[in-house]
Amino acid sequence: MDSSAAALLGMGIAAAGFGGAGIGIGYIFGKMIEATARQPAAEAKVGKYMWIGFALVEAIALYGLVIAFIIMGLRG
């Protein structure tokens, strides 16, 4: 296999880390809805932590993107 093709594949695989973040964000919002349904009064307090968690999980997906950039940079 050509090495540039392998680099392209590697970039794709690195970016596929988005899948994990998708699961994580799904969990966060699902649990938020569950928590609000059980205890509607706690919505504001839970919501604060939900957005922090959302941003942290989203950032983890972007670490994969950064690795894809690094591969792209190494490829030249």
């Binding site: 957005w51 922090i52 941003a55 942290l56 950032a59 950064v66």
Partner: protein
Amino acid sequence: MENPLEHFELHPLIPLSLFGIDISINKAVVMMWIASGLVLLFFSVATKRRSLVPRRVQNLAEMAVEFLRGLVVENMGPLGHKFFPFIATLFFFVLFANLLGLIPGAYTVTSQLMVTGFFALVVYGLSLVVGFALHGLHFFTILAPAGTPGWLLPLMVPIEIISQLARPVTLAVRLFANMTAGHIILIVLFSLMMTAPVYIGWMPFGFTVAIYGLELFVAFIQAYIFTILACVYLGDAVKLH
């Protein structure tokens, strides 16, 4: 389609060099000046006609400052008041830099790893300095969380060292990657719209609008996350678990 990363390249506007170190004035430097100027302008407008019952801009500024003060005290205790100016400056500069980058034609300063990396190093370095100044060599107990059984220490200490070293890296990469990725998505969607025929081109254009809204939100939340993590790291150094 042109290279979506081209937007992030920096070219010197005024080439300058000091003792062989490149200190050229480029777009990012100019945007940083504008961002800090806007922060100053915002607060000078907000505090111009102070009244006991705050109105409009003063209300907004007071809300933000009160919110940040609550954040600092919550994480660092009463000692946090000393760090409040630093944390507030960090928050407003990152926020204005993030928001400024969303204006078409402007440059996102925080999409440079150099900038966010330096912020993260300053925050982490400050937390180390504060920790050693307050606790002396006792600060090393941060590597062994309270209540760890003795036989677990050989395992816990390396893990804690790694987690400590990962802090500045993740702090820098989180902000940088969020800003870069958001702008790349906008560029890709926009160039899709420009290349597609009109009867299908409205679709990516609609997405551009939606993603722009998300990016506005991300600009706020990433500035908030950066600040709250800086508070947590400083709070760890102050409180020592």
